[in-house]
């Protein structure tokens, strides 16, 4: 992985970033005079790890489920990078993705398809992970453009991840810099076929390899001030 690195530039990987003060466990006094212990990371969140969702008891029922899942793709409108621009014509009359049964939702709770529409800085990656984890299973991830595939033009950037599938289970990649809305429509079609074939198992892959994904995420996100799995 590492090549041509001058010994002067070897990274100091051991340096830890301290947890933000408001996130540390501490004793506080409530307005009515009680003294209580709080632990912000554990008090407000359930951090139980995700579970693998079993397939249906019968093949024909599972196929029906998959058909239904493929026909209701609700996209989380999370615009990162320049791909967010390409999604505007897609959801308006020019390309009109709604005719394929695809619509945009404003919150992760109502969506099952996360489109990562471009480069991810480490800071954005953190928000993307939280959004992904808050989505309901079964959920799918689509990576848009070279940036999510191999870093694209940010191949030597200090703060931009190169491979999205190191951090989240990606179902479909769409090539291009940027892919045009037609390419996205074709990508939706591919995703539908994947789901109908029963291969859209991203959420289960994430649950199965949870430890590995978390290790990768924490390797780049130094100030991890959130629960391990944020529902």
């Amino acid at each position: 992985m590492m090549k041509h690195v001058d010994p002067n530039f070897v990274k100091n990987a051991d340096k830890e970033f301290p947890l933000r003060e408001e996130m540390r466990p501490r004793t506080v006094e409530t307005p009515d005079g009680q003294t209580i212990e709080i632990d912000p990371l554990n008090d407000y969140f359930c951090d139980a790890a995700p579970k693998v969702h079993r397939k249906s008891y019968s093949k024909i029922v599972e196929a029906f489920y998959n058909w239904a899942r493929a026909e209701s793709l609700w996209v989380l409108g999370f615009g990162t990078g320049c791909g967010a621009i390409e999604m505007r014509p897609l959801m308006t009359p020019r390309f009109d993705a709604y005719r394929y049964g695809i619509q945009w939702r404003p919150t992760p709770r109502q969506a099952n398809l996360l489109i990562v529409s471009g480069y991810l800085s480490v800071k954005t990656l953190k928000r993307v992970i939280r959004s992904y984890e808050q989505m309901q299973s079964p959920k799918y991830v689509m990576g848009l453009g070279s940036c999510t595939i191999n870093g694209g033009m940010y191949w030597d950037s200090y703060n931009t991840i190169k491979r999205l599938d190191d951090y989240l289970p990606v179902d479909v990649y769409i090539t291009g810099c940027m892919p045009r809305p037609e390419a996205l429509l074709s990508g939706f079609d591919t995703l539908k076929q994947i789901i109908k074939a029963g291969k859209g198992e991203g959420a289960n892959i994430y649950a199965e390899n949870f430890a590995q994904y978390k290790a990768n995420q924490k390797a780049v996100i130094k100030d991890w001030d959130m629960p391990d799995y944020s529902w």
Binding site: M1, H4, F9, K11, F17, V122, G151, W155, D166
Partner: protein
């Protein structure tokens, strides 16, 4: 226009010891000043000479000379004149004077310079908080002794199969195939 600027510089030069004068364009002039004279010059430019707009506050890393250069660009809108004042700081202990009380925008510039170059501006609001980067533990990334490529290779995994075409090699190969490699440029 240039003559107006030259007159202004002549007025200021003796009092503020401006050096390295460059008349870059008819509407852009550059000058260097000592750090302790900077603040009074900025105040005079703003309040007397109508350079009311702080266009930019940025830094240049002169690694070989062990210096950081701060550049304060100020614009006189009505005369359409920009004056860039340079201040040299010691690179080993870079501390600048905060000017957030003269221009509130300077607060943001100074936070950025603290994070990206490690130049400190004591008593500037929120200058010690992180600005854009989160959880950054390495050298400030805009310093020239920080190698972005090396850092990214050590931090993020490559996907195999990526091809790169160095423009110089590509042109040698396809546009000038008869030039011998390693010849004079």
């Amino acid at each position: 226009m240039v003559s107006n600027m030259k007159k202004l510089i002549t007025r200021l030069q003796t009092r503020y010891e401006l050096t390295d004068l460059v008349y870059q364009r008819p509407d852009l002039t550059l000058a260097t000043i000592r750090k302790d004279k900077l603040r009074s010059l900025l105040i005079e430019l703003r309040d007397v000479e109508a350079f009311t707009h702080l266009t930019l506050l940025t830094a240049v890393d002169w690694m070989e000379e062990d210096l950081f250069q701060l550049t304060y660009m100020m614009t006189n809108r009505s005369a359409n004149q920009t004056l860039a004042v340079r201040v040299m700081l010691d690179r080993r202990n870079p501390v600048g004077d905060t000017i957030h009380d003269l221009w509130p925008t300077a607060e943001t510039y100074q936070r950025e310079l603290k994070e990206m170059f490690g130049i400190d501006f004591p008593s500037s609001p929120r200058v010690d908080e992180e600005f854009i980067l989160e959880g950054w533990t390495d050298l400030p990334p805009y310093r020239r002794d920080f190698d972005s490529l090396a850092y990214s290779q050590q931090t993020y995994r490559d996907r195999p199969g990526r091809q790169t075409h160095d423009p110089r090699e590509h042109m040698k190969k396809h546009l000038y195939p008869d030039t011998e490699p390693g010849g004079t440029e």
